[in-house]
Each structure stands twice: as C-alpha cells, then as structure tokens.
Amino acid sequence: MRIVVNHLNYIYNDRSPFAVQALKDVSFTIEHGEFFGIIGHTGSGKSTFVQHLNGLIRVPSSLKRKPIKGDMTELRVGEFDLTSKKTDFRALRRNVGMVFQYPENQLFAETVFEDVAFGYRNFFDGKPEKGQVESAVREALGIVGLDYETVKNVSPFDLSGGQKRRVAIAGVIVTHPEVLVLDEPAAGLDPLGKQEIMRLLHRLHGSWCKTIVVVSHDMDEIAENCTRVAVFAEGTVKYVLPPRELFHHSEELLSLGLDVPLTAKLCLELEKQGVHIDCDYTTEDFLRKVLALGKGGTVC
C-alpha cells in the first residue's frame, strides 16, 4: 500500500497554554514495498507521525475545513483516506500493524498463545474456529523465531526481554498486515538482540508485510537496512533520501543533533585528510573500499 502524506499538521493541546505543534506541514510519499526509515531526535515528531498511519491520531476536522496556509491536508494509506470520518478504521488497523516502543509493555494475557491470539480474534470477522486461531498463532510465533510448542502455554511475563518483544511483535503481525510500522523496535536490546530484530524485519519484509516503516534514532540501524529515510527535526521533514545520499549531508545531520553512521563519520574524517571514499555507507562496502585503498588499488 502506498502512503501519501501532504501538508500534515498536528498540534498537541490545541488552543490551550500547553499547545505544542508536533508536526509542521509534513509531506512525503512512502512507496509500496519500501523498507522506509524515519529518523529524528526525541521530540522531533516522528512518533506522532507514525501514530497517524493507523488512525490512532486523527487529522482534526477543523484542519481539513480550514487548512493552514491554504493547502489541503492529505493522508492516504492505500485506499484509505484518513482525513475522512467515514474511513473504516478497523479495516485500516488490520492492514497497518503498529508495534509501539517497548511493545513488551502491552503484554497482558495469561499465556503467550492467548496474547498473540488477541489481535487475530479482534480483527476476525465473526468467530474464528479453534484450528484457524491455532495455525495463525503457530505461524506468527514461527516467523519471529519462537518455538510454538515450548512457549504457547508459558506466561509471557516469564520470558526474557528479547523473547517478550518477539511475542509482542508476533501479536501484531498475526493478522498479516500489509504495512508494518515499528517505533524503535530495537530500543533497549543488546547488540545481538538488535541484530535479531533487524533480521526478523527483513524476513517479514520478504514475506508477510510488503511495506515496512521503522522509526529509530540509531543511524547505523537505518543506514544498513532502509531503502529510503525521512529525517524529522522539530516537527518538519528535512530530507527524504536513500541513506547513501543522506550522508552527504553529514555535517548538517550532526548539527541537528543526529548521529551519522560510523562509516560516514570515518569518510568525513578521511575527506578532511584529503582521501575521498565513495561508498554506500554500509559497513561491508566501506571496509571493502578502504581495504582496496590500502592495497593501493583504485577507489571507485
């Protein structure tokens, strides 16, 4: 599903002394099948933005009637027009899965099975048969890398941190959403856990969820994985670019308080020393080109 955003504004506590404009005239498009990254500092509006994508935050109707600066707000996810009040939000949410920050904090059921089945039952039209639920849960736990037989009757609170998170993700993808949005999916995990989550996302991208949107503030994570990145700063979108082009703006990113990937930092330092390396900023490519340089080969 294609996601089209035009002139999106959002103000928290509108018309009160606490009013904060979280999004200012945000416009860009996420194509079908992308692995899209959203990066920004704390408070840059990235979380507010992604909550729009499945209607948890609605476009206030006052904005539609009286748009800021005269431009109509547009927000579409596939066929769904999110500025309309008539949108079927239940159908939208079945198609747009949302994994929040620290999703393990949403676990509540007595067993892993029940927790994962929660979303499936909610979104099923009518009452699902027992076999249907079972196979859906089995599949979902399988793709996140947990063994169905061993965990199905365990309390989710007895699992380790990384396992809890995978159960929570299974609970979201169990309905096979076409778009999967994740807010800091790797936050608070150890490096190995981070790697596993990223591998899981690639697995999902290739099979269940055609479009993936990842919010993160970890540049390395974004650079290694995403097709394109939107940089949020103070409620506006600064750039929407593929990672390798994005890091041509390294200095500005640093001034925005955003980190750049280690590779980009090294390239920048080398540039200052008069050595130019043209790489796509993934660790692998960088190393290959640096090694080529060391051997006296030409850098392409």
């Binding site: 948890l56 949410r93 929040f100 920050q101 904090n105 949403q106 509540f108 909610n122 609970g171 979201v172």
Partner: protein, 271 residues
C-alpha cells in the same frame, strides 16, 4: 483526552494570585469557606462574592474556565435548591400541593444555598488553578508542621502526596500508550455493551498495573541508592517566603472574616 488530566487544574500564567504563598492561599480558602457559611444576609455574601470576582480577575484566569468548574456541580446544586424550595416551611406561602410548599423563605434559603455552593466551588478551583500541585503539597506540609509534636508523620505524608501527584501524568501517558497499543491490535475500548467494555479494560489494566509496580520499585531503589531517609534534616529547593503581597491578602482575609462575623451579630438588613 487523558492528556488533559496530566496537568491537573493548574493554569500556567503569571499573576498576582499565582505568586502568592501557597500556605496563604490554603488558609484563605479555609477562611473564605468559614466566611460564606457565617454570612447570614445577602450583603455579607455579596461582599464575599465581590472579593472572589477580584480574585479571579487578578489571577488572569479566563471566565469560561472558572465557569466550567461550576458545571461539574451544577446538577447537584440545582437539585438541592429544588428540594429546598419545595420542602422549606415558611410563613409567606405562594403555592401548596400535598407535601410540597413554595414559600418566600424557601426561595430565599435556596437562593442563598446556590450562591454559597457556587462560591465554594469557584474559590477552591481558584486555588488549584493558580497553585501547582508541588506548591500545594509544600504549603500543606508547612501548615501541618505543628502536628509533628504529636508524632504525626507530616513529611512522609507530604512525600506520598507529591509522589502520587508526580506520577499522575506519567501513568496517564502510560495509559494512553497502552490503550493505543491495544487499539492497534483491534481492541474496541469505547464501543459495545457494559460487559464487553469491562472485558475490554483487562488488556489495558494489567499492563498498567505492572508498569506502576515496576516504577514504584525503581523509584524505591533510586531513593535507597541515594540514602533517602526521613525528613528531619532535609532542606528545600524552594523556600516559602511571605512577601508584601501576602500581607495585603492576609489583611483582606482578616477583614472579611471579621466583617462577616460582625454582620452576623448586628445584621444590616434582617432577612
């Protein structure tokens, strides 16, 4: 939304009333309540009302906000007033039907009652509009200090209050987040019958309780780690100080209570 709860009532502008010592404001509220219940005639009540109007004006709180605080008790007040009108037995009878009588005295008492209750509500919300919860607990702690002589744990009580107040916005945020997470998984939290709604609360309540316990544990550990003990030798970041403003208001309260008491004994217009 829940976001509105997080800030409590406090209305953040700078004003004369905001800058008053919280202790004085608490005392003012108590004295004011005494005054409006001492007042026996409309003139005395009118003076009280006039003072409150000035208070609201000096606090720079929009009138709409003040009236909204009345809205919550409107039904209760009107209901009480109606009962009073219908059942009060007086001399000048206007209308009689079975056990119901409408008399001049009845109408006057219930009008009095309505004004009193409204003044009461407006005055207490003026306190919460102009005083941050933290200042309020500080003021309360300071006012309750004499109770320490009878070994009442004043400091601990104030600590519990300020921790509770501090956690309201955090837990409100958390509730929002969890509700959103469950909504994203198709939970329907605001539709369906009563039984369905109660069942729908479980997926929100359990994670919320868990997080509250986790936070309490963490806070306890953090306080332990910094060797937090009782309040005996603690100093305060913000010291409460009386200023000239407080003196003016103090004189005003004293005059009000004295005036109303005098008018109770020597009424200007007998009712």
């Amino acid at each position: 939304m829940l976001k509105d709860v997080s800030f409590g009532q406090y209305y953040p502008v700078r004003s004369f009333v905001h800058n008053l010592d919280p202790r004085l404001k608490i005392l003012f509220l108590i004295a004011y309540i005494v005054a409006i219940f001492l007042a026996k005639e409309f003139l005395a009540l009118g003076i009280c009302a006039a003072l409150l109007v000035f208070g609201v004006a000096f606090a720079h709180i929009p009138a709409g906000k003040v009236l909204r605080s009345v809205k919550g008790v409107l039904f209760l007040v009107l209901f009480t007033a109606a009962i009073n009108v219908l059942f009060y037995r007086g001399k000048t009878v206007y209308w009689e039907w079975g056990i119901f009588t409408v008399t001049f005295e009845g109408i006057m008492t219930s009008a009095f009652l309505v004004v009193r209750l409204f003044l009461l509500v407006i005055c207490s919300s003026l306190l919460t509009y102009t005083t941050t919860p933290v200042a309020l607990t500080d003021g309360l702690e300071s006012l309750l200090t004499p109770l320490k002589w009878i070994r009442f744990p004043v400091h601990e009580l104030a600590l519990i209050m300020s921790i509770a107040l501090r956690f309201i916005p955090i837990l409100a945020d958390e509730t929002d987040r969890i509700m959103n997470a469950q909504k994203a998984r198709g939970a329907e939290l605001d539709s369906g019958g009563l039984a369905k709604r109660i069942r729908a609360v479980v997926p929100v309540l359990i994670p919320l309780l868990l997080s509250a316990f986790r936070r309490a544990d963490e806070l306890g550990d953090a306080m332990d780690a910094r060797c937090y003990t009782d309040g005996k030798h603690r100093t305060k970041y913000k010291k409460l100080r009386f200023s000239w403003r407080d003196l003016i208001v103090f004189v005003l309260i004293a005059a009000l209570v004295a005036g109303v008491s005098v008018m109770r004994v020597y009424p200007v217009f007998a009712l």
